[in-house]
Every structure is written in structure tokens, then in C-alpha cells.
């Protein structure tokens, strides 16, 4: 079996995570090391519980894949044949273990509506698209949010502070799809600067050889610069939309945390040692203020995924979110189950990583 792009993406993201874990493990104290081991081991039962819940919830929600596939007037014999084909005639625990072993083998079954297309193949197109959207959005939101929040804290009760606070409330309250539509109408259709749907120019797409399905990486690998430019061009509006949804929370949280750290004794003490004000704010205060922000990143990840669903739908971005919405509409049970499993597992892994970053940043955390 050749390695599918999905496996490639899974392994490379896990690889990045593992590199970080290794770094923290080597740099960290004995206590931190045992914490990392414990936290990683704890993630396994957490993932198991998650997929178990997904499996059983999918079976108790109203509706039945056979009926939705064949229609209410199909004969019992046809239904039975379909059940057999899908493995639904087997005892529930057998189905459960088949599902679990499928996840381990990265074999998530086949789509109910698109012939016998393996779900894994579909996800290996969809997941990279979502990663390509959420990683830059999250980076943009966190980076800008923290900097703007710190800037506002530094200028507390002056006009930059008031403006940034107003801005963060406004963007936080705007619905994603509305913001997306406004961008499409103004920057997209109105000024014609940015494309409003899809991931890349369809003509350029033909010339691009796919490896990971993350188009930026693929075009870099093959040195296809027009493809890179086009991919970035198509990325601007969806990324901006998703990033703006998140940035408000990060501005407000960074601001309040920096304000709180700036009145701490060790800040006054650092000033009393003649440390440069810039260093006091951006090293002493910000690094302490970032600790709770890191925790928020873990919590906001699910908001990011939810935002991705809406953003992808608005911008016809062929990612996981759009996939999930479509397949729910089409009652493609295996597809929905698989997509939710991927979402749940990524939330589990991200929360594990943020916990470890937290422990790594804050030497006071008791393991």
C-alpha cells in the first residue's frame, strides 16, 4: 500500500508535534519530562473516549443510513443486503472494534453516496485544505492579537487602547459568514483584487503536482512559483476572515494580562535595576502574560474549527468543514463519522500540546 496524502499530512503534523515534544523533553527538567510522558499517555484514553462517544452518538441519533440511502420504499431484502454490505448487521461491539481498528489502520471505510470511494482518500484532499486555511489564520490572529494587546496595555487609557478595544469587540461580534460576504463583495467583486472562491486558479492547478495537498508546500517542493503566488492569492480573504474572528479574543486577553503583569513587583524591580523599558515590557511582562494566552490557544482551537466550517462554506474552500456540512446534508454517515473523528482527535492533540507548552513556559507548574 502506498502512503496516502492523508497519512502523509497526519504523519508530518504529528512529526512537528513530536519534534516539539522532543525539544521540551531534552531541554526540560526531570519533572517536566515525566509530565510530558504522563500527558502523552493520558491523551490515548482521552482519544479512545472521544471516538467511543462519536461511534455511539452516530448510532443513536435519529435516521438510518440504509433508509436514507435506499429510500423508504425499498424492499427488506435489498435493505438486508445493504446492511450486510455496510457491516451493520453485525453485533454493535463487533462494529465498534471494526471502527477502532479502522482508525488505527487509517481505513475509515467507504463513502455511502459516492460509490465505493475510500473516506481516507477524500479526507486526504480535505484535511490539507483546512490546515492550509487554519494554520495561517491562527498564526495571524495570535501574532497580531498578542502584539496589539501588548501595545494597548502599554498605552492604557490612551487612544490606541480605546481604538483596539473597540476594534476587538466589533470583530468578535461579527458573524463569520457576514464578514466573509463583505470581503467578497468589496475586496473580491468590487475592487477585483482577490478571488472569492476556491484554493487556486484552476488553470494553474493543472500544472501543480500534488504531494501533500497543502498547495503552498506542494508548489514550494516543485518550485512552481506561479502556483505559489496563486495559492497565496486565493488564501488572503478566507484567512483574513477567519483570523479576524479570533483576533479580538487574543487582543483582549493579551491586553488584560499584560496590564496585570505590568503592576507586578518584579516589573518594578526590573525597572529599579535599570533594565530598558522595552525589555521590561516585551520580555518580562509579555512572557509572563503569554502563559494564560497559551491556554486560551488550546481552548480557542475548537472555535477555530467551527469558524473554519463557516469560512470554508462561504469561500467554497474544499476543506473539512465544507465536507462535513455537505455530507451531513447528504446523510453520508461514514463520512460524517470520519470527519468528526478527525476534528475530535485534532482537538485532543492540540490540547495536549498546549498543556505541555504551558508546563514548559511556566516553571511553577506542579507536575
Amino acid at each position: 500500500m502506498t502512503v496516502s496524502p492523508l497519512a502523509g499530512v497526519c504523519f508530518s503534523s504529528l512529526g512537528v508535534a513530536l519534534l516539539f515534544l522532543l525539544y521540551a523533553f531534552l531541554r526540560g527538567s526531570k519533572g517536566l519530562r515525566s509530565y510530558i510522558v504522563t500527558r502523552v499517555l493520558l491523551t490515548l484514553p482521552m482519544v479512545l473516549i472521544l471516538v467511543t462517544i462519536i461511534f455511539f452518538v452516530m448510532r443513536v441519533i435519529p435516521g438510518d443510513p440504509v433508509t436514507s440511502e435506499l429510500g423508504p420504499r425499498a424492499s427488506e431484502a435489498v435493505r438486508e443486503q445493504m446492511r450486510e454490505q455496510l457491516g451493520l448487521n453485525q453485533p454493535i461491539w463487533v462494529q465498534y472494534f471494526q471502527y477502532l481498528s479502522g482508525i488505527v489502520r487509517l481505513d475509515l471505510g467507504t463513502s455511502l453516496i459516492f460509490g465505493n470511494r475510500p473516506i481516507v482518500d477524500e479526507l486526504s484532499e480535505r484535511l490539507p485544505a483546512t490546515l492550509e486555511l487554519i494554520i495561517p489564520s491562527a498564526a495571524l490572529a495570535i501574532g497580531l492579537g498578542v502584539l496589539a494587546g501588548t501595545f494597548a496595555a502599554e498605552h492604557r487609557k490612551q487612544w490606541p487602547d480605546y481604538l483596539l478595544r473597540l476594534f476587538s469587540v466589533v470583530v468578535y461580534s461579527i458573524p463569520v459568514f457576514w464578514l466573509g460576504l463583505i470581503f467578497q463583495v468589496t475586496l473580491g467583486l468590487g475592487l477585483g483584487i482577490f478571488p472569492i472562491a476556491g484554493r487556486i486558479d484552476p488553470i494553474i492547478d493543472i500544472s501543480l503536482q500534488r504531494h501533500t495537498n497543502i498547495l503552498i508546500i506542494d508548489s514550494l517542493i516543485s518550485g512552481n512559483w506561479p502556483a505559489l503566488l496563486s495559492a497565496l492569492h486565493y488564501l488572503v480573504l478566507p484567512t483574513l476572515t477567519l483570523a479576524l474572528i479570533l483576533v479580538g479574543v487574543f487582543i483582549r486577553l493579551s491586553r488584560i494580562n499584560v496590564i496585570e503583569t505590568l503592576v507586578q513587583d518584579y516589573i518594578t524591580a526590573a525597572r529599579a535595576r535599570g533594565i530598558l523599558e522595552r525589555v521590561v515590557v516585551y520580555r518580562h511582562a509579555l512572557s509572563n502574560a503569554l502563559i494564560p494566552v497559551v491556554t486560551l490557544i488550546g481552548l480557542q482551537f475548537s472555535v477555530l474549527l467551527a469558524g473554519a466550517v463557516l469560512t470554508e462554506t462561504t469561500f467554497s474552500w474544499p476543506g473539512m468543514g465544507q465536507y462535513l456540512v455537505q455530507r451531513i446534508g447528504q446523510r453520508d454517515y461514514t463520512a460524517v463519522q470520519s470527519a468528526i473523528t478527525v476534528f475530535a482527535m485534532s482537538v485532543a492533540v492540540i490540547s495536549m500540546i498546549t498543556d505541555i507548552i504551558y508546563a514548559f513556559l511556566d516553571p511553577r507548574v506542579q507536575y
Binding site: R271, R273, S287
Partner: protein, 336 residues
């Protein structure tokens, strides 16, 4: 003209901006600290002694500001320096030790990082390795083994942390150390060790130390000279011997009488503490007059100067000064 003073503050005033208006936290205070001496600055909570300590380093920040005065440090008026020049003075020439060693070290920086950062801020030419060696040397002199350098602050005891604070204050051979309530959070035994260390450093390095505290007993034990503040003003200053044996100001007299119960006393007497509106409209003239057992008519009308009563012993009280003629004969009945 060379003098013995390491630092001399002249008519220093600090005001805080509050909703109710400007509040005088430090009002027209003068003091000097000489080489090789410990000056104990005592007073109740909220009397402005910590603000005065910070003002000497120009560490007063918005919404407070130094409104008046000069700070002479070895012939230079610190008030005329730019912010950046002043910053270079801090840490290099003046070191400060704070009240709570638990919170005055950056919790996510190792001890050695604090020291290296401080050394390299003031001497950028020093390499990391040299700064590390100096840091090890510094803490070693203060009785902390060099293998604790890689610890985080929370891994050290309170006494050790306070010694780390001293090492930071001394990292660049400062001439003046301001210890702001530096022993308040230490237990009695550690406090005694800490104070002994300060005395020893003061002798060995010929330092000037300003010890800000509300612990009268401690001051009596270690200070060479004592300054007493009340409601933002200097009430009395003199050698420890004079002040404790023969207190002049009625406030000092009361304070000394209250030594065993000094913490109770704070609760009962101090209305101004923590409530700015009270400081917005302090009692007129001598701020102690409403509580003074020797109150005279002049006390609520004219502020007495802070001047010499006997030798080096100064106080701001009409009991030791000539009352202006127009108030000499004022009696209860004659007002009508």
C-alpha cells in the same frame, strides 16, 4: 564641595493623581544618607515612606509624579537627568530591595538570568560567560552556593530570595541601597540574619543604606540614624541614639510608646491609610495636630519648619520653635 552624603534630597514632593484631585504623598521632604551609614525611615503604612524611597530613584510613574525638589547624588541632580540617563543610574549606582522577595523576582527567569541581564544591561561589553562568572561570585559572597544559580525563584527560600535581591542590587557596585520593607515578609530568625548581612555589607563596602520599615525595634537595632515620617512629611530625624532616648516630636513619642502594639495602633489610629480622599484634604498646617496631646492654636494655622532642635537632631514641631507673635496670645476665649 565634596561632602559625606551619598544622596541628598531637597524639598522633595510627590503627588498622586486621583479622581478627587492631586494628593500629596510626599510633601517637601529633605533627607541625606551618608557613606557607611544605615538610615532607618519609619512611619505608619501610607505615610509616604515607600513613595519617598521610589522617588529617590525616580521610579515614580503615572498617575504619580515628582512635583518639586532636587535629588543630589554625588554632586549630580538626578532631577535634571533624561529618562535614559536616569535608567542607567538605577541598578548601577542605586540598588533597591523590595518588600516581598516572593514577587520581586521574575517567576519564569532563572536566578542567573536576572543577574546576567542586570550586569549586561549596564556593561554591554561583558560576555555572557564573564557575566555568569561574576554572578556566581556575587551570590557566593552572599552565602548562596553557585549551583543554586540555575534555580527558578520559587525553588528558593524567602531568605535566599532576599539575598538574591541584594546580589542584584550590588551587581554593579552601587553606592546606595534602598531596602523597602525588605524584612517584612521574613521570619524573625531569617530577618536577623538578613539584617546582619546588610550591616556587614554596609561596613565592608562603605555603602549607604536606606532602610524603610515600620518595624521600630529593627531600626533601633541596626540604624545609625533615624527619620520619622508622618502623613507625607518628615516629622523628626536624628541619630538613632537621640531619637530613641529623647524623641522630640509628639508623634515619635507616641510611636515609641506604642511599640509593643504597633500593629494594633495602625488599625486604630490610621484613618488616612488607603483612602485617598482623606489625603486630598489633610489637616491644615501640622498634619499631626488633631491627634497631638500638645496641640497649640498655631499648630492648625502654620506649618512648622523642619529644622534643627539640638545639634543634628531635627524636627518639625512648634514645641521647639518660636511661635509667630500673632499666635502667641491666642486663647480659647479671645477669638470672640
Amino acid at each position: 564641595m565634596p561632602d559625606d552624603n551619598v544622596i541628598r534630597a531637597e524639598n522633595l514632593s510627590v503627588q498622586y493623581k486621583t479622581r478627587a484631585g492631586w494628593v500629596s504623598a510626599v510633601d517637601d521632604v529633605s533627607l541625606e544618607i551618608r557613606r557607611g551609614e544605615i538610615l532607618g525611615l519609619v512611619g505608619e503604612s501610607g505615610c509616604g515612606k515607600s513613595t519617598l524611597g521610589k522617588a529617590l530613584m525616580r521610579l515614580i510613574r503615572h498617575p504619580a509624579r515628582i512635583t518639586n525638589g532636587h535629588i543630589w547624588f554625588q554632586g549630580i541632580d538626578l532631577m535634571t537627568l533624561s529618562d535614559n540617563e536616569m535608567r542607567q543610574f538605577r541598578g548601577r549606582n542605586i540598588g533597591m530591595i523590595f518588600q516581598d522577595p516572593m514577587t520581586s523576582l521574575n517567576p519564569i527567569q532563572r536566578v542567573v538570568e536576572h543577574l546576567i541581564e542586570t550586569i549586561r544591561t549596564h556593561e554591554p561589553a561583558v560576555s555572557d560567560e564573564d557575566a555568569h562568572a561574576r554572578a556566581a561570585d556575587l551570590v557566593d559572597r552572599l552565602g548562596i552556593s553557585a549551583n543554586r544559580l540555575d534555580d527558578y525563584p520559587h525553588q528558593l527560600s524567602g531568605g535566599m530570595r532576599q539575598r538574591v535581591m541584594i546580589s542584584l542590587a550590588l551587581a554593579l557596585n552601587a553606592d546606595l541601597i534602598i531596602a523597602d520593607e525588605a524584612t517584612t515578609s521574613l521570619d524573625v530568625i531569617v530577618e536577623a540574619q538578613f539584617v546582619e548581612l546588610l550591616q556587614q555589607l554596609c561596613r565592608d563596602l562603605d555603602l549607604a543604606i536606606l532602610m524603610i520599615t515600620h518595624n521600630i525595634g529593627l531600626v533601633a537595632e541596626v540604624a545609625d540614624r533615624v527619620a520619622v515620617m508622618y502623613a507625607g512629611r518628615m516629622a523628626e530625624m536624628g541619630s538613632a541614639c537621640d531619637v530613641f532616648k529623647e524623641p522630640l516630636h509628639p508623634y515619635t513619642q507616641g510611636l515609641l510608646k506604642a511599640v509593643p502594639n504597633i500593629h494594633l495602633e495602625e488599625d486604630e489610629l490610621y484613618k488616612m491609610e488607603g483612602s485617598p480622599p482623606d489625603l486630598v484634604s489633610p489637616p491644615p498646617a501640622c498634619r499631626f495636630h488633631p491627634r497631638c496631646p500638645h496641640m497649640m492654636p498655631v499648630c492648625s494655622k502654620v506649618q512648622p519648619d523642619f529644622e534643627t532642635a539640638r545639634g543634628d537632631h531635627r524636627t518639625a514641631c512648634w514645641l521647639y520653635q518660636d511661635v509667630p507673635a500673632e499666635y502667641q496670645d491666642v486663647r480659647e476665649g479671645s477669638k470672640a
